[in-house]
Amino acid sequence: MNIEVNGEAREGIATITDAVAAVTTARRGIAVALNGEVVPRSEWDRPLADGDAVEVLTATQGG
């Protein structure tokens, strides 16, 4: 299954929880967009589909 996490193709990613774990161990201050739409934390275990793009975001200096 081809899943993109923060712009990079990743293997072995079945859920959003997997996608988050692939890029960070932090849980606080993290938000996820799936194909551009916000996914609440309560839905992070829902399965991903081939071609899905996941964005895992957090706070950074700016503004």
Partner: protein, 264 residues
Amino acid sequence: MDQRTTTRTDADLKIADKTFTSRLILGTGGAANHAQLAEAITASGTELVTVALRRVDPGASGSILDVIERCGVELLPNTAGCFTAEQAVRTAKLAREAFGTDWIKLEVIGDEDTLLPDPVELLDAAETLVADGFTVLPYTSDDPVLARRLEDAGCAAVMPLAAPIGTGLGVRNPHNLALICEHANVPVICDAGIGTASDAALAMELGCSAVLLATAVTRAADPALMAAAMRDAVNAGRAARLAGRIPKRHLANASSSFDGMADL
């Protein structure tokens, strides 16, 4: 130092349901590292700092969220880098999910060179976010009509620029800024373009309720010292505004009476 500063007679800054003693809001962009940023936050006396939302950096050491928590200040997420209303609205929703706050500094940029706001997209995003329950603080151009439209849309404050982001050019159009302050019924926060302390003082003298700045502090040679200077400038400008400045005159007006002058 005389302790009769502005706070003695001045009300706190109220934005939506929150009150702040400090009238300086600090952006965090441009700081060399988290330690330097923490020093600047503390020296500035601010109670509210802005952060951007970006992809997690697996190699990052420490989080800016820890800095904010240690400094005991509140976080104001922003939509920095967004060029369309749709992008900004999505970013605001992600920020709400990430940080559990409905507050958003709304930035919708219309031009890569000047980073000036796109007024059409900005108003569109503001309307959408207000309808979705956000407390919206829009970064806007120094246009009194647009400021009014944003206020009418339900924004909790309006944040006109002094000059384009990061330029340090100071208040380019004091007349427009004063007009915005004169007519607004929500706090006017001068956001962007401040270069040094006198710029911040001028914005407050013109009637702004607060000043938001980042680069002027984070890229100063001594960020903590500039942060302290900005704190004092905002307080001084506010005090001068409340005190009521003398009218400007074309010719001199002697402060010493000529009565009783010796015939020499």
